[in-house]
Assembly symmetry: C2
């Protein structure tokens, strides 16, 4: 690997895949090693002892050790219609494609994933039934043309073959990125300006930045913008921008199209004390603020994972890694405590798209309006989680199998984790007055199940959690951490620029954190007790009383409005015109006659304020509302469109929704966008403390009564007996 191109493999590389496959049998076998320890008496050391760790509560489901989750995947078999393609299946797809005439030319595979069977078939499938026919959905570029193919793994045939109907290009591949980062290095002007700025070429680190789309001049050509940093003295090169230097590269020809070189008067920030690694702090003095703390489960976890199927407490769902969405949860069902019946809540939930526009219109910055899922692959950027820190000690990890640009499968170990969380919170409580004869204090602790992924899209890190509560609530949370995208500045102190607008905050000498927004759009295919549902806006309105009606002048009234068509369900939240947002099953009522439902409960919010005609906002028009509801359409999965890279916004959620199709008593999909305005502050430098937002899916007259009324409290006699490690 060329030492001058430290980031040429910035994104996912198939080399990792090959290396992993080749060295498969040479890795120390962690499960085997850990099995020497006895989990039942020594929970702390059992991270890899899956057999005992994943205690199966229902004896009929007990698997032989060979059936239990393992770290080797070459012989994995699919067990559920939604299971992702296995290593063997990806290899088979690759073999089928190799035999296809199209793939005789130079090609790149931009996406190779399971083509999910029809929803009706999946919903009808039961464990024990034969697996539904397996198919792969492939997006490939051949000679500059984007092809959509279906590969049937039963007939070993390509059964569908279309060319792309929309503007934009598919997710970039690692080869694209390597090429983009290589291109400037052979350009004399680039080398000259780097050297003249006093940066050693060995210290140059570059990022490939999606260009957005700004009009016809940028059409019919796949381009990328390359900006560079000095990594001298710190791994945190993001804090040392070579400001004003932007190289436009043709992604297909690998040619440098133009160089914008305007920041020579801007010093490169010195990067002192920006390295965030523990190994470096150890030398400078670690801040040891708190004693070790751990979540411990003396009798083991309460969940089981059979393949990709998770069972925990009163929940069951399918969980799979996806290269574009990250984590996908499907067929989410909750058990009704009254009837013991498993009831449908959501057919599929995932992060459909992200939109991160920066708020600086100047030449080196205006185009930074990332759409991370469709441009880079949100799942592809989710690196292996760090055990004990990304997830607590009691976590179980799920590996991903992805395909590289030539169709070779590779494994991303520990891409997702699943764990039970207990923060000391309360599920419900009531205390009576102690001096009545009702000496009642009843409190139930709150334990949840968390599914986590952490995607590092270049500098930024997104922590995406799905959290399941026993009371039927699902919380979807996204945390932002990682490293700011900063701008070099000639200023060392704000007193040098009393009247100049910097587009952000001066974070350190010569470092400006540029203001930006984050939008994370979730696709939530709700199925409340079946597919045909309605969306009900329950408006909370001031009602004035009539003269003489009451000593009160006013009260709040709940008024239900069933959305007939999509435009009825384009929701902008208003604090002084509030509503609840219910998804109900109009055909099913509770015993006392309320429609069963779930409500979408927004969390803290920010809304996009950009001009709707601004090109980035047209592409990111799925953020125009916080909530949308569309009729189920298999092809409408990605809020920013199937092809997002350089897209013009002709295939977004906004376009679909504006068709205003009927949505009453239909299979409907809810879209929720979480937003953040981020004005950076010095505390975000050189690495950001996590900031979070969340929203809830909450049962509303779904259950006949509180579903966790019969939950027991904690008892001291159930809790573990623990010792510090040094006394063990």
């Amino acid at each position: 690997m060329d030492a001058r191109n430290l980031l040429r493999f910035f994104f996912l590389s198939f080399t990792l895949a090959i290396a992993l496959l080749l060295t498969w049998l040479h890795f120390p076998s962690l499960p085997d090693k850990a099995e020497l320890l006895d989990c039942s008496t020594n929970s702390g050391s059992c991270t890899f002892n899956f057999n005992k760790r994943f205690r199966l509560k229902n004896p009929t489901l007990i698997k032989k050790p060979t059936d239990l989750p393992r770290r080797r995947h070459e012989s994995d078999k699919p067990r559920h219609p939604l299971d992702p393609l296995t290593v063997q299946e990806v290899n088979k797809v690759r073999a089928i494609l190799s035999a296809h005439p199209l793939f005789k030319s130079t090609y790149s595979i931009n996406s190779l994933v399971l083509e999910e069977p029809d929803k009706t078939l999946v919903r009808a499938w039961k464990r024990g039934d034969p697996l539904l026919p397996r198919k792969a959905s492939v997006i490939a570029r051949v000679n500059g043309v984007v092809h959509l193919l279906t590969v049937d793994l039963t007939s070993n045939q390509v059964t569908r073959h279309e060319t792309a109907p929309f503007s934009g290009y598919p997710i970039t591949t690692v080869e694209d990125m390597v090429g983009a980062l290589d291109a400037p290095l052979t350009n004399a002007q680039f080398n000259r300006t780097i050297t003249e700025r006093g940066v050693d070429m060995n210290d140059v680190a570059c990022l490939p930045i999606s260009p957005g789309w700004y009009g016809e001049a940028e059409e019919n050509r796949r381009v990328i913008k390359v900006q560079c940093y000095s990594r001298q003295g710190t791994v945190n090169f993001y804090m040392r921008p070579i400001e004003g230097l932007t190289v436009l590269v043709d992604l297909d020809t690998k040619q440098v199209l133009s160089i914008s070189d305007k920041g020579r008067n801007i010093p490169i920030p010195d990067g002192v004390d920006t390295d965030y690694r523990y190994s470096v702090q150890k030398l400078n003095g670690v801040l040891n603020l708190v004693n070790p703390i751990s979540i411990e489960q003396p009798k083991g976890p309460s969940f089981t994972i059979d393949g990709h199927y998770v069972k925990w407490a009163n929940w069951e769902f399918h969980l799979k890694p996806d290269p574009r969405a990250g984590a996908i949860i499907s067929q989410v069902k909750v058990r009704d405590p009254e009837t013991s019946e498993l009831r449908d809540v959501m057919y599929k939930g995932f992060v459909s798209e992200l939109f991160v526009p920066y708020m600086d219109p100047t030449e080196g910055w205006y185009f930074k309006t990332y759409m991370d899922a469709g441009e880079y692959g949100f799942g592809l950027q989710a690196m292996s989680l760090d055990p004990l820190n990304d997830c607590p000690r009691n976590a179980y990890y799920v590996d991903a199998v992805f395909a590289s640009a030539d169709g070779t499968p590779y494994v991303r170990p520990n891409m997702l984790c699943v764990f039970e969380s207990y923060a000391g919170d309360i599920a419900w409580r009531h205390a009576e007055c102690p001096l009545t004869d009702l000496q009642v204090t009843e409190v139930r602790p709150k334990v949840t199940l968390v599914v986590r992924m952490a995607a590092a899209v270049a500098n930024y890190d997104y922590i995406v959690d799905w959290e399941f509560q026993t009371d039927g609530l699902i919380r979807s949370k996204v945390g932002l951490s990682g490293i700011l995208m900063v701008k070099g500045s000639k200023y060392e102190n704000m007193n040098q620029a009393p009247n100049e607008y910097l587009y952000g905050t001066l974070l350190s000498e010569n470092v400006v954190g540029v203001i930006h927004d984050h939008y994370i759009t979730y696709r939530l295919d709700m199925d409340i007790d079946g597919s045909d549902n309605s969306f009900v806006k329950v408006d909370i309105k001031k009602q004035e009383t009539a003269a003489g009606e009451s000593p009160r002048k006013s009260y709040l009234k709940a008024v239900k409005n069933v959305a007939k068509t999509e435009k009825d369900a384009q929701i902008r939240l208003q604090l002084y015109n509030p509503s609840e947002f219910h998804v109900i099953n109009p055909s099913k009522k509770t015993r006392v006659g309320n429609s069963v439902g779930y409500k979408v409960v927004p969390g803290p919010q920010a809304a996009s304020l950009m001009d709707p005609e601004d090109p980035p906002q047209k592409r990111g028009a799925f953020t125009d509302n916080q909530i949308w509801v569309t009729p189920y359409n298999r092809s409408e999965q990605w809020a920013g469109g199937l092809f997002v890279y350089q897209s013009r916004g002709d295939d977004t959620l906004q376009v679909w929704s504006d068709r205003d199709r009927p949505i009453e008593n239909k299979d409907i999909v809810v879209w929720y966008t979480a937003g953040f305005h981020h004005i950076p502050c010095q505390e975000d430098y050189p690495i950001m403390p996590t900031v979070s937002s969340s929203f809830d899916l909450k049962p509303v007259n779904f259950f006949e009564k509180n579903p966790i009324l019969r939950l027991p409290p904690n008892f001291e006699t159930d809790l573990p007996v623990c010792k510090p490690p040094d006394s063990a």
Copy 2:
């Protein structure tokens, strides 16, 4: 105790106090008992071993066991100027008052608390200095007149004596409540209607309900409204309302003034399966969903509590129980990792008032517009916490010393808890691409310190948390649980009332959960590096680009507006007109020239929509804005006024703020109101899963950089070695 008056002592009773004091030495001494166990090797059993449990990190602060937190309070001495009055001090105040001519008449003491020394004196006081002179602030009613007194514990004199300048009455006493609940029982009409409704008088449970204020007819007379329930067959009598029966009682004469008896056609709901106690579920089948789970700290907690002074990680603050506010945190300081200096953040923070208007204008409901702190005492209603369930196993508990209506001190054990929480969350992280030579994945776990109180104001339970993060953020969270206030209904199914508005949701046969709001108003006396601060609204505005300036049409710009006077800081949140809300110290800048500050970050919100001229909204006018800022005024502590019971709204935060006093570069106080609209759903029946909201106080250019950059990650070798209890 008369068996027919089961709830006559519904609120805090001095009998408990006396009983506790008398039986003091006869209680099993839990600390002594637990000290037999060795905490250092057996953390799980050491709940009461305070000595070893509260490991003191700084050797100079190590106390002898007798100085450490104990469960006996009769010899407690104050150690800090803000420490609450001790048992001895309350007794002394009582003795001084007994000798005062005013108290020769029949009197009731409605409030007896420390009169905090002047802020300047407290701020100047250092550990080791002589304690500042101790004074008590007393509110007493004598012959129908409210008196405000200051009792000097040095001179043993009453040094201030005024009568109340405002409308309204002080917090009700338990004697008030007992009298109110007794009154109807001697009324023949009341007895007759109860019997005629088929309820055995032995099964009647009544609630004393504050009447609000609705015009002149209700002035100059202290009244209360009594409504009753059948407790036959369930401890959850709240679910069995005797609808339509309201008794108006004069609180001073104990006379029944009138009886409204209109609900005879409404059946009393049967209350079947509404009992939520574990003991009852045990018979019906417990829902055992998850295995035991616990937060364990092998090396003990990381905090110390010296008297009422808490030190944890980089935080120090004073914590005290208060009968009206619940928990008060004072002198909150955070240590700067760069300079090791302890820096002021907040002088005082607490829940100042609550406002809970119900949305039913009919005769039995219109007046239900509770202001729980000023009417009932939010702290007085905070019963002892349930160890292991209200707080996790690793919690430390703080007792309260309160005064009863005759001035006798009593102890509320375990009123507050303090614990470290770890939910598996991430303080910060970044992962680099593994195939660069930057093989970096650095993640830091997030551990917080939680201070908790749970107040059960009759049916509703409020869980109030202050959560401290090592990154300088303070999260203030309120959780709502407990039991709904429900209305009896003649309907058993919604199909019986297709077009009738029920003012809420039919939760079960004959039970309607009435729609209501909750507002919790916090008083936050921010002191950012000293008292003189400014409030800055950082508006986030759309800025259009000029023609030819950029391919972008628009971007968001941050525009700072310093609030000059109070009206500049009356904030109604708007999603499409957003701002950040900074409290800055205009005299102190960071190295690069930003003003040091903290920002108030609102959480999920609801705003009051009632008519501003509606009597409850006039009294609750402190909820008219989500944020207010006032100049520091020692007398402006209670957002709804010093005297809230039957107040007319002439002493609220809204009245103070409308004076529009200067607030720039002054000692300022921020007021934040968290709001909830609650449309009940069947899941809230018969007891509600907790619903939460929160807001954050977040450093913004307060630190030079991320203050937890140098935090270490978790290591397996630091974590505990645990066994299930049965194998111990």
